[in-house]
């Protein structure tokens, strides 16, 4: 066989025809690949920059000119864009997310543990696995639809409960469900359940069998093994999944729109210290009006504030005063820390109307005035920052997990 001579261009084994073209295509493909990646990543960057620009954030405007100021976080939404803020929105988001977490985390972890550790290979288990996989792919708006059909229209309506239940229970339950924080929390909790289940399964799957065998070998029961040996090692993976799930719940809008339309919510479901609280004195009828409007009651004023007389005029009063006030007078005082903490009790805020940050941003985006669009951009930045931070934390956690496995 003739030796290959690279100098002789006619030898096709050394210089196959079209090799240069093919090499060129090969190398230039990298450009296309990088370009595609840059477009993807660039979208994220453009998004952030555009929001910052619209919200007049530095460096697009002089420092301090943006609506994104501390006042923005402490003001209620308002018809006057200069006064508007996201107070009710982020407080509402927190309350809803707490409910979501309380519902989805325990159930998700337990379900994931069951599927990985306990479930036998029978049709029931297959059914459950199919259900979990499908839940992950169901559009979020359908969760809202289900919640609408069950929680809002049936459970939220005292008239649709069966008659044998006592009326007090029916009313209390209807108040609790309906278009409330509880319903919102349940809806989102069911939405992110598959995320937590899958994350738990993968985390539990990653714990080596030797650990389980060692525990069983010293006489631990299955649950003791799971509780004391498997779960602690699986915890970081589970936490990653939980963070991703919560972050997703924070940004969901469609299901919450289905269960509670846009309303103007300018109050908080909880009380802050320093908020005004009130009490109406005297014997009142079902409407809150005094039964005997001529009667008076001797009242000792506890703290500085005002009283509102039945004809709606206000009178300032001071602590220590003892006054004869007509029935139906409302005594107004300021909330103490004790009152505030009491208002954080779930029975107080679970049944209340809700608004969350994505809905507030959606509301402002729908308004044509430039000032409201600026507010929408500011709300978007807050939302995006929280979401990206949480996902970044989850990614970092996952990365650390892979690198620092102790066994």
């Amino acid at each position: 066989m003739t030796a290959i001579d690279a100098g002789r261009e006619r030898d096709i084994t050394a210089h196959p025809p079209g090799l240069d073209a093919r090499r060129f295509k090969d190398r230039s493909f990298i450009i296309w690949g990088v370009l595609a990646t840059v477009i993807g990543l660039g979208t994220l960057l453009t998004l952030v920059l555009e929001l910052m620009h619209d919200a007049h954030l530095w460096p697009f405007a002089p420092w301090g000119q943006s609506v994104l100021s501390p006042r923005f976080f402490l003001s209620f939404p308002s018809s006057d864009p200069a006064e508007a803020g996201i107070l009710s929105a982020w407080v509402g988001s927190i309350l809803v997310i707490v409910t979501t977490a309380v519902i989805s985390i325990p159930i998700g972890i337990l379900a994931g543990v069951y599927l990985e550790e306990y479930a036998p290979k029978n049709p029931v288990t297959s059914a459950i696995e199919i259900a979990v996989n499908n839940l992950a792919g169901v559009p979020s708006i359908l969760f809202g639809l289900m919640a609408l059909g069950i929680f809002v229209q049936v459970l939220g309506n005292a008239g649709r409960y069966p008659d044998f239940l006592p009326e007090g229970f029916r009313n209390a339950s209807a108040d609790l469900f309906g278009q409330s924080i509880l319903t919102a929390g349940i809806t989102l909790g069911l939405l992110i359940l598959p995320v937590i289940i899958v994350a738990t399964r993968e985390a539990v799957r990653g714990v080596p069998q030797e650990i389980r065998h060692a525990a069983l070998a010293v006489g631990a029961t299955k649950w003791q093994t799971t509780q004391h040996h498997v779960l602690p090692y699986a915890l970081p993976g589970v936490v990653t999944g939980v963070i991703i799930g919560i972050s997703r719940a924070l940004g969901e809008t469609a299901p919450l729109i289905m269960i509670g339309g846009l309303t103007f919510v300018a109050f908080l479901p909880i009380t802050r210290p320093g908020d005004a609280t009130f009490e109406t004195i005297g014997v009142l009828d079902e409407y809150g009006a005094p039964l005997n409007s001529a009667a008076t009651e001797r009242v000792r004023i506890e703290s500085d504030g005002i009283v509102v007389l039945p004809d709606f005029t206000e009178r300032p009063v001071q602590a220590g005063q003892v006054l004869d006030l007509p029935h139906g007078t409302t005594i107004q005082t300021t909330a103490s820390w004790g009152d505030a903490i009491a208002s954080w009790s779930p029975s107080n805020w679970l049944g209340q109307e809700f608004t969350v940050m994505p809905i507030q941003m959606f509301n402002w985006t729908s308004r044509p005035q430039a000032e409201f669009l600026e507010l929408a951009a500011a709300a978007g930045i807050v939302l995006l920052a929280i979401t990206l931070l949480m996902n970044g934390a989850a990614i970092y956690l996952r990365y650390r997990l892979r690198k620092s496995i102790k066994w």
Binding site: V265, A276, F278, F312, S347, N348, E353, S366, P368
Partner: protein, 338 residues
């Protein structure tokens, strides 16, 4: 190590939390503020929203107000089911709704709060400046095939129509005033209960056209162009003067709130409604509507205080009604036949 601590502290913490929860729930229940529920017309919404804001500031959180904008029909439907205390409406209560309220045992105090001139708008670049009522009907009647401004004396430009959806009182009023029958309309336009969507639609579309309450035009003058309407006496643009003296016809109309008269017994609701009436003039003018004469507000204030129930329209539309005449009318609780 942390796990050990948690394991030991866990049960104790759980018990403590449960106790705290139980105690605080009892405490919290007794001091819950009352929330006034308002829903309905998106036309009236800017007034109700501004009033609710001012009132809540004054009440310092003692009374809460939640305002929705699902549309007049939706609002009145909820009202006659007893779900809300006050219904915003840009049209008088209909006969079927009167029946629903009567069946539910709900009586209402009808309070006109301002005058509105339904404004037809196009994009500022559109040279069209006026339309007759007949031309409006050509465009908006059921089955209309008018899709180009050239068909109505305008430039050769494809129309992009936007308008209120079928739950809107503006929709009912406009269709009755222009097409002759309430709710009779072409259906191939972008419907939305949210008037801001309509504003955005027209403002961003050279061929856009829409109709909605005057306040939304006033708020967005730099983005929109109002069309003068010719009802036989020459083209008239909507403004405070032309609505007050009735020359902007037939699209001038009163807008209302309906208050549950039983709920008016509640001091909170009574106080809010009184505040509403006392501030309606200033707020409606600020928002872009036309206030009623002061004497009219006085009459309605008395009616609210006395909880005088009934409607002055007998279930029919408020086309061509002047406020002086409406104030004088007898109130009825059952529909008046044609």
């Amino acid at each position: 190590m942390t796990l050990q601590v948690l394991r030991n502290a866990g049960p104790a913490a759980a018990v403590a939390a449960a106790l705290a929860l139980g105690v605080s729930s009892a405490w919290a229940q007794s001091n819950a503020p009352f929330t006034i529920q308002i829903d309905g017309s998106s036309t009236v919404f800017p007034i109700s929203e501004a009033i609710a804001e001012g009132f809540q500031q004054q009440a310092q959180g003692r009374i809460r107000v939640a305002v929705g904008e699902s549309g007049s029909s939706a609002g009145l439907r909820r009202f006659c089911r007893g779900e809300i205390h006050i219904a915003d409406s840009s049209r008088p209560i209909r006969a079927s709704e009167m029946a629903a309220c009567a069946a539910a045992g709900i009586q209402y105090v009808e309070i006109p709060v301002a005058f509105d001139g339904v404004t037809v708008v196009v994009h500022p670049s559109n040279p069209l400046s006026s339309l007759t009522v007949a031309q409006l009907r050509q465009i908006w009647q059921p089955g209309s095939r008018v899709n180009n401004f050239s068909d109505v004396g305008g430039p050769n430009l494809q129309m992009q129509l936007f308008g209120p959806g079928s739950a809107s009182g503006t929709f009912e009023y406009f269709t009755e005033a222009v097409n002759g029958t309430a709710r009779a309309s072409r259906t191939d336009y972008t419907p939305s209960e949210d008037d801001n969507v309509l504003v955005q639609g027209v403002a961003n579309n050279p061929g856009g056209m829409a109709y909605f309450g005057l306040a939304y035009y006033e708020e967005n003058r730099d983005r929109l162009k109002a069309i003068a309407i010719d009802n036989g006496g020459g083209p008239v643009l909507p403004s405070r003067q032309t609505v007050e003296n009735g020359t902007y016809a037939p699209l001038s109309r009163p807008i209302f709130i309906y208050v549950n008269s039983a709920e008016l017994r509640r001091p909170q609701v009574q106080q809010f409604v009184q505040y509403y009436i006392n501030n309606a003039a200033a707020v409606s003018a600020r928002v872009g509507y036309i206030p009623l004469p002061a004497s009219a507000y006085q009459t309605y204030l008395q009616r609210a205080q006395r909880r005088t129930a009934g409607t002055a329209f007998g279930g029919r539309a408020a086309i061509g009604a002047s406020i002086e005449e409406v104030v004088q009318r007898r109130l009825v609780q059952t529909p008046v036949s044609e």
